[in-house]
Symmetry: C2
Subunit: 222 residues, 2 copies
DNA sequence: TAAAAAATTTAGACTAGTCTAAAAAAAAAT
DNA sequence: ATTTTTTTTTAGACTAGTCTAAATTTTTTA
């Protein structure tokens, strides 16, 4: 079965809302907000997707992906993230420039293409923002990272991802010299406003707002 | 101005029909045949494209691309052929497998992407079938090749392209060991059925029907 | 050069996806 | 336990792109 562009975007939206908030049931309004359209339009589409067995839908009760729907959504995520790796690693795009292009490329329909792209890129496990790339069977590498804002003082950590994917935030990190794989040690936290003083790569001293730190994912390294 | 998928396909169709038959004016029926849809649908779309100044259209009189329309069409051809190079050179697709995927990729909208892809591929001048890739300004490398069927006996030629792009024909050539850049010398032509006896790369002797030879483009080398 | 054939356009209908406005159901608050 | 608010759905309309059937224009042919 071949889905339209639009249908694929609805499935992806349902998947990522559920994923982000650890929900099974996703509401009509959440979807319409995520897709920037009206709730009435969402209702129409939900009926169509339910008809085709991609979702379970009970009027007024929200919606949940079926196995078929989940599989489809994960495949789109896989494609999106593989293309992002391609754009950054091979074409030298910056990590804040790739989202919109990958948003288009993720709808290209060819299983052979995805698998050959995967091989060409060396079967990467993470995209340029540190998000895990599901394998061909839809399995995700579970991430056990925490927000930098949750890390105890004087602890050494490695940057593994971000939770805010906006170009604005990504550029801010780049400009500060922070990227995936960098080492960070929290030197102190201001009591009044939670401003963090950090040491980057055992070298540069930087200040980070609590908000920024809460959107940086890290893993503890001894 | 951003065109829909469908509008882009119409412009590409008008361009390639005109190109193939060296026509300026293209008829409604030619387009409908090329796109496998009905003439009535074509008429509707022609009105829309004329409205947007991509074509000059006079009812019953056929249609011609404006400069704006030509520029758009050539850009789609450029994208299509660059993606074909990517698929063959980087992802190891065969030359008979890439058309349908490139047909999708050609509609991805990002000037920066095309130019970075072009650089990544080493600014190729030809696609995997030998067709010229227009440069960023829409200029084509003029091809001065002729069909193998037109070449005089005992002449040395190099394969530079094909005029039949069907997987069937391309596979037939691959199976015969014929690809771009190969050397061919016509040893004899049968008077009765024009069957060609050729020597491939100064090595293998092969037989080619007149039909096959008429779809192989070559350049004379001494 | 008038009749027949072919090509093209118009008219009207259909689907996918969207919208606004109104109705209905569920949740929250008094 | 009603009333109010919020959420969701229904009804009806719009656009892009398609179709069939009928009408019109152009071309061909006798």
């Amino acid at each position: 079965m071949v889905l339209s562009f639009t249908e694929e975007n609805y499935l992806k939206a349902i998947f990522s809302i559920g994923h982000a908030y650890h929900l099974n049931e996703v509401s009509t309004n959440q979807i319409s907000e995520h897709l920037n359209n009206k709730a009435a339009s969402v209702t129409d589409m939900l009926k169509r997707l339910a008809e085709k067995k991609y979702i379970d839908y009970k009027p007024y009760k929200g919606v949940r992906l079926t196995d078929k729907g989940k599989k489809t959504a994960v495949k789109i995520v896989r494609k999106h993230r593989l293309w992002e790796v391609f754009l950054v690693e091979k074409l030298n795009f910056k990590w804040d420039e790739v989202h919109d292009i990958a948003e288009q490329l993720e709808h290209i329909n060819s299983d052979e293409l995805i698998e050959k792209l995967d091989v060409f890129l060396g079967k990467p496990k993470h995209d340029p923002h540190g998000d895990p790339i599901p394998d061909v069977n839809g399995k995700f590498n579970v991430q056990k990272s925490v927000a930098l804002s949750q890390v105890k003082i004087k602890q050494n950590v490695v940057v593994t991802g971000v939770t805010d994917h906006s170009p604005h935030f990504l550029q801010y990190l780049s400009n500060s010299g922070i990227g995936l794989g960098d080492f960070i040690r929290i030197e102190s936290v201001n009591e009044y406003d939670s401003l963090l003083t950090i040491k980057l790569n055992k070298n540069k001293t930087l200040f980070l707002s609590h908000k920024a730190a809460s959107n940086i994912l890290v893993e503890v390294r001894s």
